[in-house]
């Protein structure tokens, strides 16, 4: 639907910017997960240098990932588990 709009009217700098923001927001996960290609990284970083709202979205997304990776407690493996596994394996032989 975006494209119909831009076909009907000549591109304004605003419309281009909007498209860029959309593209950048689609790349947020790729960026925080280290899955973006070099080209994508360059495009992304150049954009967030100039765009406050995309910059902030990027910060928020990083924070969210950090909450899980840095704050979610790991559960402790019960001491007996390794022994149970080994015992069951020997049983099934």
């Amino acid at each position: 639907m975006e494209s119909k709009f831009t076909e009907a009217y000549p591109k304004t700098p605003d419309a281009t910017r909007e498209e860029e923001c959309l593209r950048v927001s689609d790349m947020l996960d790729l960026m925080i997960d280290g899955e973006a290609s070099t080209d994508e990284q360059q495009y992304f970083n150049k954009h967030i240098e100039e765009c406050v709202s995309c910059f902030e979205n990027h910060q928020k997304q990083k924070l969210l990932k950090g909450l899980v990776s840095g704050h979610l407690k790991r559960v402790i493996v019960p001491h007996s588990l390794v022994q149970s596994i080994k015992a069951r394996i020997q049983e099934t032989l």
């Binding site: 996960d29 990932k65 790991r74």
Partner: protein
């Protein structure tokens, strides 16, 4: 017994390799099982089941390939096939009992919640950890799974696609929706605590 692969190991070789290559994955595997089942006993059973299968099919595991991803895939399949039906529902978990320590890595970002309160005190760290856990546990299991695999275990999209038997595009969209959902739950919490998020 047929020997299709032609490289059947002796029991000693098999046991040694099993111990060296597969048992070191026990900790992440148990954590994954716990996050799926939200129950210690169920996690225990699921992990045992996984290792039994891994041992049985060890000849199919190619040495030097990703043992962690292989085991996660077996566990995920066991969970779906046998476990999901009989798995007990959440809400009876006492986190303080079972959750012992954190990753001490700092949160990357410095914006948002991080600046609104003193993050250094242990009680605040505890609160955040508990809140992240309950927000995550409230997500549908498919959403919980991709977030655990990606953010806690650091699997790549490609590895996740293999573990979950779905295309990479589906991994991406599921992860995206899962994060939106998690964000929503955490924002509600932040608001209830009087933070502006």
């Amino acid at each position: 017994m047929s020997d299709q692969t032609g490289k059947q190991l002796s029991k000693e070789e098999k046991d040694a390799r099993f111990e060296a290559e597969l048992l070191p994955v026990l900790d992440p595997l148990y954590n994954f099982a716990y996050r799926l089942t939200l129950d210690e006993d169920d996690a225990n059973d699921l992990v045992q089941e996984t290792y039994l299968k891994a041992y049985r099919f060890f000849d199919y595991f190619e040495q030097g390939t990703n043992a962690k991803a292989w085991l996660f895939r077996i566990l995920k399949n066991s969970f779906i096939n046998e476990f999901r039906k009989k798995s007990k529902q959440p809400a009876k978990v006492d986190y303080s009992e079972v959750e012992g320590y954190y990753n001490t890595d700092d949160v990357e970002g410095e914006s948002g919640v991080a600046t609104t309160t003193d993050m250094r005190t242990e009680s605040v760290q505890d609160l955040i950890g508990d809140e992240v856990a309950s927000a995550l546990n409230a997500l549908p299991v498919d959403f919980r799974t991709v977030i655990i695999l990606c953010d806690l275990e650091g699997f790549t999209y490609e590895e996740m696609a293999k573990i979950l038997d779905i295309p990479i595009g589906t991994v991406r969209s599921r992860l995206h929706r899962a994060r939106n959902s998690l964000k929503e739950k955490l924002e509600k919490y932040a608001k209830s605590m009087g933070y502006n998020s």
